[in-house]
Amino acid sequence: MNVKRVLGVVLVCALTCFFSSPAMAARGVTDDTIKLGLILVKTGPVAALGLPDGHGMVDYMKYLNEQGGVHGRKIDVIWEDDEFQPPKSVAALQKLIHRDKVLTVITTGGSQQTIANMKTINDYKLSNVPNALMKEFFDPYHPYIFAMGALYETQFECIVDYIFNDLKEKNPRIGVVYTKKEYGKIGLNAIRERAKAYGVDLVNELVLPTGAVDASSQVLTLKQNNVEYVITCDVLPPIISFVKTTEKYNYKPKAIFGFNWATDDMIVKACGKAAENYIGANFVGGWSDDSPGVKLAKKIAKKYGRDEKSIGLTSLYLHGIGASLLFGEAFKRAGRDLNPDSLKAAFETFRDFDSGGIFPPLSYTDKSHAPPEMIKLFKADVPNKRLKAITGWRKPMKMK
């Protein structure tokens, strides 16, 4: 019958047409340009995270071009928006490879996007720096993924260490406020384990969703249980609401801790005095650091007409500059003969690469693309509306 015939045609045609071959020529590199892709969220509710990061990446490349480019080549960055949806990120990567024919991408977005794109990344040898800090990106070894920032686990271990060693607490009451995202869960587990290693159990483990209207019940529960140290694993907007809510209920923990996505001057600007006990961990330097790297970042920002207000989250702008810096250096080391393989090889020559304080000294080898497991802690400096570094780069303590 008709239906059968239609199906037959589809099947026969499908079977005869089963072949394809991705083109593997020297993609994206000509005599005078390098085409570089970038997938980061530009629109929607999380754009506040993607925009400063991407601007940092693009601005540094612009700056590099004005310095004469790399080996006579200018770098052309094509920034695609994924609206923070993995299917869109996959589509954007396909477009960048097949339509724009880029050499590689700086990043494909967050952890979900990177995992969803993993196969393409390996097939097309796209060396990239994921915008997420998960262990599985470098352990086991992935040839084209170069992790830049300290793991969430590392950050929270350092925070717990700080409570026990620097603040000399013997038996602190620690509560965790987290969100049900990968960083929240990883963070919660890391804190729980670390506290247990010191012989302390967590008092509370509360969820604060990213779009929460109100943090009253969380704050009240922590207050009810006399929690002295609150460790948060959530992004900025809910943490700002949370800190403001603690003020509403006269709840004053000895310190509120946050990790890299919530360690930004913004929190002090937004919460004012309520944030005075806020301590954040980050794997990039602070905007008020006095290091050559941060000074360079400030110079670049000024050059392209951005002030603190128009940048938004300065810590992420710095992160973007850092990621681009890494790529710029890799292009330099790869020399004139630039292709996906030589780029990967160039990344793997980094030994204690010094970024001037934007991120800690960083090494990649052909066996490991692990990030430097180091962070800095920053404390709120309310009068100056900023976070101020209170430690240098530090690793988690060795536990016995």
């Binding site: 008709n2 239906v3 239609v6 199906l7 045609v9 589809v10 099947l11 045609c13 499908a14 047409c17 089963f18 394809s20 991705p22 530009k42 629109t43 928006d81 609206e83 949806q85 993995p86 299917p87 996959v90 589509a91 396909q94 477009k95 490879i97 097949h98 339509r99 979900q112 995992i115 969803a116 993993m118 196969k119 049900k180 995202k181 990968e182 929240g184 869960k185």
Partner: protein
């Protein structure tokens, strides 16, 4: 042979025939040839977009059967996709099953969930039903996040490459033929369903459920059946989604996705199989098209480049949806029908 005039039908069977005239057969053939040729003339990016639209089509068909044909509004369609996707992901990765187990299992799992929601929701109508299904969606999201032993929670599950009888479908083009074949099956099945007794019962329920009951349509049975069939489609679509994305995460199946599917069937046309296809393709392809258009514009007028913002693309998409529906509230299938009649009656168009 006489000049072709208005179709003249002699029996009821002719009226519900799949291919009414020889011309429809001809155009179908041409369309199939075009579909087969697609990967040869375009690049993998476009093929990927079509892959995604195929999945959307299947899910939209399911929702259209439930909402468009039976009149049971659902705002929890994403939940059924999630159940399907997780079934495939778990079967394929943990239990190492083949696709011909995973995909039907996804459908069945989602259909069971559909029964689970359908039965308690029998008394609900309209927006109340929409909200009850939405609640179900929220609960499913909570379960996928929380039940870590099964779903790996917010880590998400990586799914192995789809393997069709020993042939790995590891590129967009290879997946394309598989997806198009499954979508064709789904479309044919849906077309057939709506011309049977069951389909007529669905439509009767949509138009006036009490009248349908009086006429002997078993409301309970058919309402629950509509839920089961709609969810089955969603489950299969979810399974395919897992294979195509190679990775699923609870965040992929939120309330916004349910709204998106509702958008697809309304834009395409409620109660129309063709409409589901149009709507799904519209919602997945048009944003990419607008993006490409905007980028071409910035090449033609470099002055625009500084002013250009990706948010304009999305705004344009929203505006387009509004204009479309103000212009043609019956959706794309309404426009299609109009164009078709226009050609059919040519030169006597009116």
């Amino acid at each position: 042979m006489a000049i072709r005039s208005k179709t003249f039908r002699e029996s009821y069977y002719e009226d519900i025939k799949l291919f009414q005239t020889i011309w429809i057969k001809f155009w179908m053939m041409l369309f199939i040839i075009a579909l087969v040729a697609v990967p040869f003339v375009t690049d993998p990016y476009l093929v990927y977009i079509i892959d995604i639209s195929c999945i959307a089509t299947i899910a939209a068909l399911g929702l259209n059967i439930l909402t468009g044909f039976t009149g049971q509004i659902s705002l929890g369609h994403a939940a059924f996709l999630a159940i399907g996707a997780y079934t495939t992901a778990i079967f394929a990765s943990t239990l190492n099953m083949k696709f011909w187990v995973c995909l039907p299992a996804s459908g069945v799992a989602a259909a069971c969930a559909g029964l689970l929601v359908g039965i308690p929701c029998l008394r609900l109508k309209g927006l109340y039903l929409a909200m009850a299904t939405m609640s179900f969606g929220v609960v499913v999201e909570y379960v996928t996040v929380t039940w870590e032993d099964l779903t790996l929670g917010v880590r998400g599950i990586s799914v192995p490459t789809l393997d069709v009888f020993g042939y790995a479908l590891d590129s967009n083009e290879k997946l394309y033929y598989f997806l198009v074949a499954v979508t064709a099956l789904a479309v044919i099945a849906a077309t057939n369903l709506v011309r049977t007794r069951v389909g007529r019962a669905f439509i009767a329920i949509r138009d006036r459920d009490i009248a349908a009951e009086v006429m002997g349509v078993n409301l309970t049975r058919y309402k629950v059946l509509a839920f089961a069939i709609g969810s089955f489609y969603a489950g299969v679509a979810g399974g395919l989604y897992a294979y195509v994305m190679h990775y699923i995460h609870p965040d992929h199946f939120t309330f916004l996705l349910s709204v998106q599917y509702l958008a697809m069937i309304i834009i395409g046309g409620l109660g129309s199989v063709l409409g589901s296809v149009f709507g799904a393709v519209f919602v997945t392809v048009v944003p990419e098209f607008i993006k490409a258009l905007a980028q071409t514009m910035t090449l033609v007028f470099p002055a625009l480049e500084d002013k250009y913002d990706d948010a304009w693309n999305i705004a344009a998409f929203g505006l387009l949806i509004m204009l479309f529906l103000i212009f043609e509230p019956k959706g794309l299938s309404g426009i299609w029908l109009r164009i078709k009649t226009c050609f059919k009656n040519w030169p006597y168009t009116y």
